[in-house]
């Protein structure tokens, strides 16, 4: 029997790593490149507002030049969009600029907590799915919204663990549990994962993948932290595939009192 974790398939593409990584907040593009490599990720999301979409290779907006498209699937994200129109426009521009027809749909009109707008996200998802995009929507951990999005054909759902960049972990645990239980597409826990233990927790719960950015980018050693997340995600996934033991309220002695009856 193989000891490797099962690969993850999204829209027909197979990923051996279940760790997705964001590219914001790093102290340099070189550091970002090295941390991506250390994390073993195969899917990397990039904010389109940071990239040059004109095709002119702008040296002052050259983040994409540090991400090898042969090695990673570049997942453009629509961060900065405040409504469906803007997100759809950004996604189309990304394709026109030669990026994959995949989009991490992020619509957060409130710049303080960056919480996703469910109404606009649903509207944009409908349009983009119809246009043939592989849509990965970032959503609050709302099981009904997750189902509605699955019904219209999104490729994954990406519920948040806690607000972006907050490092607070899986505060939406109970809701994420329901989303996973009811899911017909992969569930990627996105946002708020501040420690490898949070990532492992999400994977043990049965999430198909996690997306990490801040905790790696602002660490004093992003590469080592990338490796730490890699191991945590693998450990959490392995535990899920093996199946964790049941939890009990009381101790379960290894030398039971009734052993003499056997």
């Amino acid at each position: 029997m193989s000891s490797a974790n099962k690969p993850l398939t999204i829209a027909g593409r197979e990923f051996r790593s279940r760790l997705f990584v964001g590219t914001g907040k790093f102290c340099s593009p070189e550091m970002m490149r090295d941390a991506l490599a250390a994390s073993g990720t195969e899917m990397v999301t990039v904010a389109l507002r940071r990239a040059d979409l004109s095709g002119k290779r702008d040296p002052f907006a050259n983040i994409l030049e540090f991400i090898d498209p042969q090695k990673y699937l570049i997942l453009p994200n629509t961060s900065g969009a405040m409504n469906a129109d803007e997100a759809v426009r950004l996604a189309r521009l990304a394709v026109a600029a030669g990026l994959p027809k995949w989009v991490k749909l992020e619509i957060h009109p409130d710049p303080r907590y960056l919480l996703p707008d469910p109404v606009e996200t649903f509207k944009a998802a409908e349009i983009l799915v119809k246009e043939g995009f592989v849509v990965l929507p970032y959503i609050n951990a709302d099981p009904v919204l997750a189902k509605r999005l699955q019904d219209i054909g999104v490729a994954t759902v990406m519920p948040l663990g806690s607000p972006i960049g907050s490092n607070r972990g899986i505060e939406t645990r109970a809701q994420i549990r329901i989303i996973i239980e009811q899911a017909t597409v992969p569930v990627v826990v996105d946002a708020g994962i501040g420690a490898p233990s949070h990532a492992a927790e999400a994977m043990e719960l049965g999430a198909d993948a996690v997306l990490v950015n801040t905790a790696m980018a602002v660490a004093s050693d992003p590469c080592r932290m990338g490796t730490a997340f890699k191991m945590a995600v693998e450990a959490g996934r392995a535990a899920f595939e093996i199946g964790l033991g049941a939890q009990h309220d009381t101790a379960s002695p290894t030398s039971p009192l009734t052993a003499f009856l056997n």
Partner: protein, 401 residues
């Protein structure tokens, strides 16, 4: 909806008293709270709070890195006109100052913008004096459109307008509006603004709300430190920012902390804020508002800026000029003086006596950090941060085809 009624009800006097009489323990306790109220903020900026400056800086740095990452965004001011109908005692552009004036043509403006783009800037702040004859609303919309052809992000710092007057400018592609109240102290405001529409304190105070209604999504506010007690100004700015975050919830709010610089007219600051106090204030704003943008301009010296970059600042300018045409010499041939709204040609002999370099229009104030953007970017990298030039795409604002 208006901040004016909230502002009028603010217990500023008692907050200032609490701040001045705070003890070290109270200041420390405020620092360790997770949700900072205005009363806590008064403790953070207190003289006693200064004793904990090192710890305050560490907390501010940590919060900023968590929320914004290890990046610093760049912007450049582009002055398009130094014509003005106001008389503001502290401002070099005041209408009665006999300075060299010019309003750039659209071609001049694009020349300046291209020069800034070559240096890296993708985020331009268009600045103009307030003068309906030279700086009309249509002209500002045209400027915005012309700038937008060159850079993705355009903000404005211009005379306040009505909502309906702002809309064409937003449609032309502007995403941000900056308006400093200058001073939140009503009596001093009255003394400083002796003529022109800027005399109306309340109208100016409500400007960010009107801008938000018109569709601007970045709102910049601030006080000009050097006119009234800095703690009173800071408390007012904090209350204003808090109001905007609640009521203009889709906007990104930024706070600038300009200190008065020497300018034409030889105005001397009425109050003083030390470097140490400026650092304390930046960190106090960060603790109260973990998500707000904090701006540091070239008004401050190179040494101070280098020290402050990693402490909580998120948006900086570099290599700035405060005179129209300052980056390329554009518009030089049209330089004149303006007397009672009329253009007066300047003779060759007068050039030698009025201007300093006598070839460019007069700047609003002297800058203190004249290093190039490239030099500053190198320092930012050395400090362990990535200089970010582009953080916005025109697709976010431009109407679909």
């Amino acid at each position: 909806m208006s901040f004016v009624s909230d502002f009028n009800a603010l217990p500023l006097g008692s907050l200032l008293k609490q701040s001045l009489s705070a003890n070290s323990l109270q200041a420390r306790a405020a620092m360790n709270k997770s949700d900072i109220t205005l009363a806590d903020f008064a403790q953070l900026i207190s003289p006693a709070g200064s004793e904990h400056l090192e710890a305050l800086c560490r907390r501010s740095q940590q919060l900023t890195q968590q929320r914004f990452g290890k990046v610093i965004r760049f912007f450049a001011p582009l002055y398009v006109s130094n014509e003005c109908i106001n008389n503001c005692s502290y401002c070099g552009f005041s209408r009665d100052n006999p300075i060299l004036r010019v309003t750039l043509s659209i071609d001049d403006l694009q020349r300046e913008a291209r020069s800034l783009k070559e240096q890296g800037f993708r985020n331009i702040l268009l600045v103009a004096g307030e003068h309906p004859k030279f700086v009309s609303n249509n002209y500002l919309a045209d400027c915005t459109r012309a700038l937008h052809e060159i850079v993705p992000s355009v903000s404005l710092e211009v005379g306040p307008m009505e909502v309906e007057e702002y809309r064409p400018i937003v449609e032309a592609g502007a995403d941000g509006l900056v308006v400093y109240q200058e001073t939140y102290d009503r009596p001093i405001y009255g003394e400083m603004h002796t003529a022109g529409p800027k005399r109306n304190f309340d109208w100016r105070l409500e400007t960010p709300e009107r801008a938000y209604t018109a569709g601007f999504r970045r709102l910049g506010i601030g006080a000009l430190y050097g006119l009234a007690d800095w703690r009173l100004e800071a408390l007012s700015v904090a209350a204003h920012a808090d109001y905007l975050l609640r009521n203009c919830w889709k906007a990104q709010v930024t706070i600038s902390l300009p200190r008065l610089r020497p300018c034409a007219g030889e105005f001397q600051p009425l109050t003083h804020m030390t470097d140490r106090e400026l650092v304390q204030l930046v960190c106090a704003f960060r603790l109260m508002f973990p998500d707000i943008g904090l701006v540091l301009s070239t008004r401050e010296s190179a040494k101070l800026r280098d020290g402050m970059f990693p402490l909580g600042v998120t948006l900086i300018s570099a290599g700035s000029h405060t005179e129209p045409g300052g980056y390329t010499g554009a518009g030089k041939e049209k330089i004149h003086q303006t007397v009672r709204g009329r253009i007066v040609e300047v003779g060759a002999s007068e050039f030698a006596t009025i201007g300093t370099a006598a070839t460019n229009a007069t700047g609003q104030f002297n800058i203190a950090d004249d290093r190039s953007p490239e030099e500053i970017a190198t320092i930012i990298r050395r400090l362990g941060y990535e200089p970010v030039w582009k953080d916005w795409d025109e697709a976010l604002m431009t109407k679909a085809e």
